[in-house]
Symmetry: C2
Subunit: 463 residues, 2 copies
């Protein structure tokens, strides 16, 4: 679909001609994200370089009834950044300034296009710590992280992106600047619209500035790998660690297929005959780290770990986490397509859920490898397949349906950290209620009467 | 205003005749809360004892266009629980069950009428910890805490109520049950309506069940009192503690008038000639507590504390916190009326703000004592007055106006923890923007078309 020349002229006046992109290559570039979904080409991509231009772009889209999708790095896994056909993509990557890092008051103010890892590194230079570490942080943007409420490996102890959002300024459909939250630890002035913006996937406003909470970094940390001949023993270790009132900053698991794919991929010396491994890191005061690490080793051994190896130095620690972070790329190259889910259950249900995933995969004869955040009950069942094979994809769909049903039966959730986007809205009502959908739809309609803000996502992609 | 006999019969059928209260005494009882505002009598107070009855009450109110105010203990300080004339008050104190405390998965599910302190004590019996500790926790309810996003003394390290809300089920105006959030650490299924409910003061729905996050309790803690001959030195100590990357769980200050009123009230042996004191508690692993406590003592002395006394045992520790918690009752008995504000600034601006409050009080010849959460920049300037003296109350109003202006000039907020309610909505736009008010009004209107849910609060009390 093409856009009228006069409207393109208007956009050029706002963002500059060099930042209005309509070529076939550009439109294809912004047609997809990390989800296994068909690409959809926008009519144009805009790259505003100032706040004013960003607000004006949103207003112009609304005036012209054009669907608009804000896009950071497009790493999300649920189709949250796939545009509407003929719509507008607003790129945030030129709005990438860290406006303030305040060491006295422990906050930072950023534009939405700042890359997560760049920000985390800059914060560290100031002697502070920004804990959220989504898998895509090397390229993902903070605006995208907030829009999706990105998780990561440190959820158990440190929480997720939402736990660090102190305030968000955003543009409404008329280009008005809505200001919410504060640079103070406590703020109850008006509705918690910052809270509402988190995980709203660009459907309720377009971020202008984000205020993020920072914390002092831990003084010490220790990482270890526990190896098991059964997933049940690994799961029992997780339960025993929590029962001992220890909150590791990271508590990850890899199942046997994942271990084998990772080893095949990066030759990290993983125990390929193990049924499961846990990768555990504790952090904090050095004495606490010593105590907690020793307790964790004792617990894992008592519960039946074949071995528990503590990283003896930074290089060994790094190699453990490199192996963990290799899980997704290792699995992704196994077959042409990977459907990476993030069904999440209360952590005590994680062993049952892992067993169920294996049973479901066997039932539908699909290839599955599961890894994830054991401490959060946040599993990543990864269904390895080929999207060109319709019959296989149908079995994948049935398996995913059943995985979600099982997660909900354990009081879990469809999505721990990837978002609903376009992929999962059809299951929304099952987890929540009809009233929840209606309430959300009424709210969305009032805030965005022409339905221009990232339409078809979350509730509107249903059915 | 009276209510039709037939409607009262309908309410009786829903909640039982004994739970429909229309006597003059009942109506006066629920006409006021902790704010300095005129009481407003409702037509009736209802006390549902089941979820179903609660939902039916809300639906009936909507069908009849009756304003409805949910009320826990009525301790809020901004008029959030003052009903509309002739409206309905729904009491939550029979919905007071702790439905689940889950030690494996570190969460609890409660009804809204559970008393905060009762809950915290019950959680402790299970070996876990619920950190939020608002001043009124001995009587306040968890529903009220979430509706107001109650703060407390532990905000600096542990955050406030919102940091512990994992999910909220609530009734919409039609009596439909909206389900949001999860029992999992991570959940991004749909809009973050739990987040939206926090601090919404009963204007967007009526809580049915709340899921709260629990954490392991700290293994040790140490409390101390640092005494200063100037507020600036106390403030410099706070800045130096944060700069040393120490996050005390509590970091409170009392100014000279507050110290004197407290000592007069409870003879706790406070240094009445001091200009300021800090009450500080560090917690965590025993070794960390030892280290942090010693560092805090050294910092305070270096910055110029006259003395720093460490509590040597639990009794001494308790007496420090009893003295701090006596601040409000001690000030409240000084004059017939106390206007207790909670203007909050980034913590580095706290000394400047305390000075400004003194200057403003002098300018308007009003009696002020200030205490509060220094670590959060959350001040409680307490204006001591007599509400029957119109001329004095006018000066109080001018002083409060100027205090808010000053807080905003420091990038602070009108309200750190007391809420907007009816008292502060006229300042809302100054802190946020016109677009923020419009956005909120549109959302409210869509969710509550007849404007029955606690009308006149937050944005609707404006002007």
């Amino acid at each position: 679909m093409s856009m009228s020349a006069s409207l393109l002229k208007e956009f050029e006046a706002v963002v500059g001609a060099e930042n209005v992109m309509t070529s076939e290559v550009d439109r294809q570039t912004y047609a997809y994200d990390g989800a296994v979904l068909e690409p959809v080409e926008p009519a144009v991509a805009l790259r505003p370089v100032t706040s004013e231009a960003l607000g004006a772009c949103v207003r112009l889209c609304n005036e012209n009834g054009l669907p608009v999708t804000a896009r950071g790095a497009g790493t999300n896994l649920s189709g949250g950044t796939i545009p509407k056909p003929g719509g507008v993509v607003i790129l945030t990557n030129s709005l990438n300034k860290i406006l303030e890092i305040n060491e006295e008051d422990l906050y930072a103010v950023v534009q939405p296009g700042v890359v997560t890892a760049t920000f985390a590194a800059e914060v560290l230079k100031h002697g502070l710590f920004y804990p959220p570490d989504p898998g895509s942080m090397a390229v993902s943007t903070l605006g995208g992280n907030v829009a999706e409420n990105a998780g990561g490996l440190r959820g158990l102890k440190y929480g997720v992106t939402k736990d660090y959002v102190m305030g968000v300024d955003f543009f409404d459909v008329e280009g008005g600047l809505v200001k919410t939250g504060s640079r103070t630890v406590k703020c109850v002035t008006g509705y918690n619209l910052s809270g509402l913006m988190i995980a709203s996937e660009g459907t309720l406003g377009v971020f202008n500035e984000i205020t993020l909470k920072l914390v002092p970094p831990p003084a010490a940390q220790k990482a270890m790998m526990a190896v098991y001949d059964s997933m049940d023993k690994a799961a029992a270790s997780v339960a025993a660690i929590i029962a001992a009132k220890i909150l590791p900053c990271t508590l990850e698991f890899l199942d046997k297929p994942t271990i084998q794919y990772v080893e095949d991929f990066c030759k990290a010396g993983m125990p390929t005959d193990a049924d499961a491994i846990l990768l555990i890191e504790v952090d904090g005061h050095p004495a606490q780290v010593e105590d907690d690490a020793q307790k964790v080793v004792d617990i894992c051994k008592k519960v039946g770990a074949l071995s528990v190896d503590m990283a003896q130095n930074a290089a060994q620690r790094d190699s453990l986490w490199t192996a963990r972070r290799a899980a997704l790329p290792a699995l992704a190259r196994a077959r042409p397509t990977i459907v990476l889910e993030d069904a999440t259950v209360p952590r005590s249900k994680f062993p049952a859920m892992v067993r169920d995933i294996c049973d479901i995969a066997a039932k539908y004869k699909v290839d599955v490898a599961t890894f994830g955040h054991a401490g959060d009950g946040n599993l990543h069942p990864s269904l390895l397949c080929d999207r060109r094979d319709k019959e296989e994809m149908h079995r994948i769909e049935l398996a995913v349906d059943e995985i979600f049903d099982r997660a909900l039966s354990y009081h879990g959730t469809l999505s721990g950290e990837h978002g609903i986007g376009m992929s999962k809205s059809k299951w929304m009502e099952k987890e929540t209620s009809r009233a929840t959908i209606e309430y959300s739809l009424r709210m969305k309609k009032a805030i965005d009467p022409k339905n221009i803000l990232n339409p078809t996502k979350i509730i509107e992609g249903r059915g």
